[in-house]
Symmetry: D2
Subunit: 494 residues, 4 copies
């Protein structure tokens, strides 16, 4: 997930630095309805369970399962939540690794998102400062979703215990959401109405700093364009062949010509996922995998329609047939100001991450392995950065959720400051004690915020009002065709 990587990198945009730990009441203006003691006690007890959830995150880190293949990771979280008394709805939206864990009943319904998919090819030893795969070409948790899932489950269970103990009415949910990395799992869960009855959704993401967020993200549509030609011996009868690869080449060229004629905030990128089987055969099957992004979904629709025409033209000119598989489509994220302020306050209450001497040494060495332009300084992991607005340059399927339910997302410093996302360095952190410390900050912030929302209906009303205002005049309608099933095998090699 890119959003947070960007929050990390774009130091030029960060006001940063000046944050002083203030009491939550001062920043957000929301008066917690429980006594301070209640919440301090809750945080204290979380410290006791931190080791357990740290271990849990490590096991998911070791599973390192890619999108829609997270069988062990999903099962581990399910069994943890089941043991804590949650009701588990499995196989949500026909996805074996998607689930919803629910405790309690009635309003309000507060959902916490949890992700757990790994990234292909990023296998890496933890806690070392050089690139060293645990298993060649195997996946790795370069986006920290092992921490994401574990911290969110940690928070959900904590909230449940608090509700029970304090006899507070309402429902707490944990959403086990697979395949965030390109698989758009939440979009299919949304289509199955999994989020519809929530009042608020809380999410976070691993990062290299701690902050609440008012940022939006890029809407994204991605698809595989497949071309079917006519094979022929490339030396003996090339005139009998119709090359599917020619169609890919032409489609790509058309897209590259189009770059001049789309708004500057557009992003289009592609790879060739199948470029022919053997040089001596005119390729009869080739594939190009294209992403297009823009801050606004309606604008993206127009751009996407033109990309489809590029591919149709590729087929037309080369005498081949084009077949389109829409892989994913996610909305831009709608920020929510009241929720972001709530998070900001609780983050400041919880505080940042403190390194041990050994962790400090690791961090210093790791920072020598990537460029530090614009990176926050070492030590910044102890602080809470100011909220930022604008549009991040990434995309996430949290975007779709945010168009259905008031949603907020924040980050904690699970990586050494400056660490690029989707890097071996990130994997080295997310399997390390540094990652677990960030996990605890996240879990505590989530738990505090959920409890605040449970206790204060005005918070929820304010979040809903902001949500209605931002969404005004726009429907949510996923661009994924209604009859399209989740691409459960999108990570398989062609």
């Amino acid at each position: 997930m890119i959003t947070r990587r960007f929050l990390l990198c774009c130091a030029a945009l960060l006001l940063a630095m000046s944050n002083i730990h203030k009491p939550a009441s001062a920043t957000g203006g929301f008066a917690p309805t429980g006594s301070a003691d209640d919440r301090d006690e809750m945080l204290r007890r979380m410290d006791e369970r931190a080791e357990h959830f740290g271990e849990l995150s490590r096991r998911i880190w070791e599973f390192a399962e890619v999108g829609y293949k997270e069988k062990q990771s999903s099962e581990l979280l399910r069994s943890e939540l089941r043991a804590a008394g949650f009701q588990i709805q499995e196989n949500v939206a026909g996805i074996p690794t998607a689930f919803v864990a629910t405790y309690g009943q009635g309003k309000p319904v507060i959902g916490i998102l949890g992700e757990f998919d790994a990234l292909p090819g990023l296998s890496q030893e933890a806690g070392v400062t050089e690139k060293r795969a645990r298993a060649a070409n195997a996946p790795g948790h370069g986006c920290g979703h092992n921490l994401f899932g574990a911290a969110s489950a940690f928070a959900a269970i904590t909230v449940k215990n608090h509700l029970v103990e304090k006899k507070i009415a309402g429902t707490i949910r944990f959403y086990g959401t697979p395949a965030e990395e390109g698989g758009a799992g939440k979009v299919y869960m949304a289509r199955a109405n999994a989020f519809d009855d929530c009042d608020v959704i809380l999410a976070w993401h691993p990062g290299d700093a701690n902050s609440a967020s008012l940022k939006s993200s890029l809407a994204n549509i991605s698809a595989k364009f497949r071309f079917h030609g006519q094979a022929a011996h490339a030396a003996g009868a090339p005139d009998k062949g119709r090359s599917s690869l020619d169609a890919v080449m032409l489609t790509a060229h058309a897209i590259d010509l189009m770059r001049e004629h789309v708004p500057s905030t557009t992003r289009i990128h592609y790879i060739v996922t199948n470029g022919g089987a053997a040089p001596n055969v005119v390729p009869d099957y080739s594939e190009i995998y294209v992403y297009a992004r823009h801050p606004s979904m309606p604008t993206l629709d127009g751009i996407w329609a033109r990309i489809i025409k590029c591919a149709e033209a590729g087929a037309l000119a080369t005498g081949t047939k084009m077949e389109l598989e829409l892989v994913a489509s996610v909305y831009n994220e709608l920020p929510n100001e009241p929720l972001a302020k709530l998070i900001d306050g609780n983050l400041r209450r919880v505080g940042g991450v403190k390194y041990s001497a050994e962790e400090q040494g690791f961090a210093e060495k790791l920072r020598q392995t990537f460029p530090l332009d614009g990176a926050l300084p070492l030590g910044s992991q102890e602080q809470i950065q100011q909220m930022e607005g604008g549009v991040s340059s990434g995309s996430t399927d949290v975007g779709d959720v945010s168009w259905i339910v008031p949603t907020t997302e924040f980050r904690t410093a699970t990586y050494v400051p400056g660490t690029p996302g989707h890097s071996w360095q990130a994997v080295a952190c997310t399997g390390h004690t540094i990652g677990r410390k960030g996990l605890v900050v996240a879990a505590k912030t989530l738990a505090l915020s959920a409890v605040d929302l449970m206790r204060d209906p005005k918070l929820i009303a304010a979040a809903r009002e902001d949500f209605n205002k931002r969404r005004a005049g726009h429907d949510y309608r996923s661009r994924i065709p209604i009859n399209q099933k989740p691409p459960l095998n999108y990570r398989d090699k062609q």
Copy 2:
């Protein structure tokens, strides 16, 4: 016209050299019905008129008028033929410079083709051995059509005189055919049925050697693909623009990808005739001019249909509109063996070109200005080369005539051996005495052959039989749309 240039250049294909002057009767087996005296006398009288027609060719050389713009050249030939007693049909096929000059009546009808268009940008002084334009960027007779028209008129008038003198029945025709170089004038004349009642058509072409021919040529279709986009300021609002130049780029790329998937004997070539008006404006109008050729018109049809799809794809991918103007389409030439043998015999009777000492010096110096790989040696202009078969790599609108009437075409040495066609060196020859000597060889061969055909119906019957055999199973149908007018302004700059 490329056909002959190729006969010149492709020495590898020439058996050459071994030709011995044999009496015509020995080679073709056709016994001329006139007495030897008759014909010797005719040739002798032609020598007396040679200076006059040489001067006439020089005037056309100086006019140097490009296709469909040959007003002075056409008028000069018309007045010469009118003065000789020919009936002139003007404005044939709606072309101001096309005409048919007819003398006599009844069968047989023997036609002689005459061309007179120049080539853009080839202006050159005559008789000099360095590149030196008479007028910068002006046209020049790099294909020797000034000689072509003058020699053919010379022959037609000679035949007319012979018919009158010898009281021979039949009709002699001179076809004033404009715009051979890309304008396909004869195709429009054919559509106006100008050749339908001929029994035989004789044609020749300037070259660097003397020979009859059994070669075919390449069928050719050419068109301008025009793209209409949406202009916009290229810095201020490029996303508002739809670039017609993008469409050209993509169409060209598609065509280049197609090269692998057409038969090896195909030729496709293009230029960009309009690539935008100003860099700071997204081009809303661009044009690409494409030729496609193949030895067989039906095969070319399939290739051409694919090229159109390339251009449609160019428009589709770029959001522009495509407009197609078919510029020309000519058939491959059907050779005719009895006619080629008749020409071969008469060429050998007439003999080649003898240089004066001064001409020899000019030729030696000129040959230092071009590569001589595969060129015939100096001196070969005195000989008659053997007939060749195969397919030349050029195209000519004589091709269309050859599908309607039994037609033959030969070449004489109007250029120094080895001279490339369409070169300044060719222009330097066609305005020079060397060119005029080749003109006389051509005129004599045409006159002898026409007279032979007038006198011997069996020759005509044999030519017809060969024609029927070669054309069997195929219709002639020009690919130029029936409602398309001659592109009288195709040489105008955009």
Copy 3:
């Protein structure tokens, strides 16, 4: 010049509308040292000469001479200034139409820029509301430089009279700067040190609204990349040819691929200015004309270096030779806040443009011929818009001047609100009374501001201070090679 067209169009960015005519002293804080009477009198006298300079602008409009070919236009302005007592330095920087007209002596030296070149292909009748060329394909004043030159000369002469009358010391200059539209005339004049001793430069530009400006513009480098290949008959011996057009195609493709990998604020655009001579000849000469722009010259340098590599690659891959002619290079414009405030104040003193009933009717009809999205409403021509910052998407050779001398530029409403720049509609206005009214607003504002600067050294000091601050750390060094002569024939067709 695009800057102002953009100011007009980007209404979304305009706060606009709320401007109230306030006394100059209130807005800028600069107290004019002359008495109010002085200046009112000066403005009144200008009204008397308005007709004369309007006529002068109309004559230049009719000359409609393109860049570096503005012989009559330049001569007309020179003779007017000469008659008014200015000393004329002609043939500045070796450019026949560039001149500097000077009156007075000593400090301060205040320069006023005047442009007068027309745009190719924009010929149009004045005052009509449909596209109707005066002469087919002829140039037209689509950027209003006829008004630019005339108003600036009007102002310079007015200032000279004022200096004489009021016995004020100092030097007033008029710069006759040719070929703004792509020819970068001012860059060559700058190289010849023509601006070095000025204290302040004032400039304006025709537009569809009245406003001072704090905008920057895009630095721009443009060049013609010429490829030299090997000609060959495209049907007969294509393997012997090396296509210069192939090199163009490849270079263009490389540039289009590069678009993804440059900052979003970059603009690159090209046209194909020579795409081959004839389809049946492998092109041995082709040309692509490329512009690249970016808000920062050092960043643009890096992009430009990569574009050159694209062209080198085009040559390398195709076996051709690449030759680079740098056509122009202009800097981004440095705004100047004290000068912009001075202009803003004086503009508000002068006031906007009032239409007669007939002009109102014309304006209403004209506005039906272009899209009005984001356009200012009719009536806005009477107001003064607020100053804007940011970066316009155009480029101008005023940019180079602004790196040498503190410079400001403003616009007046010479076009009907909403009129696109470089359009027939703009030409219809710049030859019409509406254009002349905008001319008078510009001339008065220039004259007032020059007189203010003459009288108040603090204004000049403040302008210098702002200039030094903005330029800090950067040298001015034109990217045009020191030995390159002005491209006096850049508008000639290839």
Copy 4:
């Protein structure tokens, strides 16, 4: 291997049909020195071993091991030859699956080539008439090399027995040559001097007809061009990335542009073997795999040098680095007329393939699954086709051997007439009894011819003379760099 597939397909070139079984002495003029009885007896004994070698071919068919990975196949052949008394030289040229099996001593040395590699993705059940993989995506023997290896071993062992029995002096060799399909195994064996002391090399190839051959093949150079760029997040910082895929795109475009400018007999084809890892990352590693072919190696050198420039240009324009791995280079095959005549005679002595009723039924049904244009009729497998000359459109590493030692190659009808090479239909035949019958024809023809050569030094002398004549003026020098090791992993997926 394509050569024979082409022999099969190009029926237009086949005179065919008229072949009558004539005694060998009549066709070739070579009088066998053994008595007819000797050789009849040898053939009769071969019938007794046919089942055994058929089974052996089936086991290799089931192994279906791709180039350089033929461990079991190679070991099976080695053990068979070892058991028959041959000396085995293993690991020839550093290739684990390459070996030379030798029996006897002294001159003459007659070599027989044996191949055994399978083709990726062609897994197919034997003897069925529909496409049905034995194992999805697994390799299959679509070129019949299982038969090739087994028949050649069968022949070698037969010859050895004959030498022993008849006490004939000389050496018989079996060459176990891996990775013909793109790996060029023989080229590395040649470099290790494995063929240098042979007098004659005999080879055959599975096909759909029986015939000796005078054909040449295409010289071939192939390489993987690898581009190394700079990864970056494709949405977040595309300007920081340098795309290796862009380099591939541009290189491909350059090659496609080049197609117009190479001789028509050239063949260039490519696939994209690595087109990026994920769409949201600017690819830092991409690969294009290119073949180029031409009938003449020196001409191919020039073309290849230009292809390298295309790839260099791809890197230059995109700011990436290019790395070239030459995968293979094989020479065009030198035919040998005396050897071809010897084969032709012995093929006619052996006779073709007779189908059982069941095989006939299979053949009839199979022929309904592919186009029959130009295919030989069913029944033609019983005949011996006339030898053909010309140039096949395929390439083979037998070509390199043929430049070192006089070599001939023939085909037998192991596929149903008309079966395309490299097809599932071919696999269905090569694992079927039909394939085994063709195996026997090949083994007998090889054995007869080797024995003839052993007995008649004049045959060897005539072969050598023809060889010297055809090779005159040309050296053999492999284009594979001397320090390049065999690409033992060329079949591994990237």
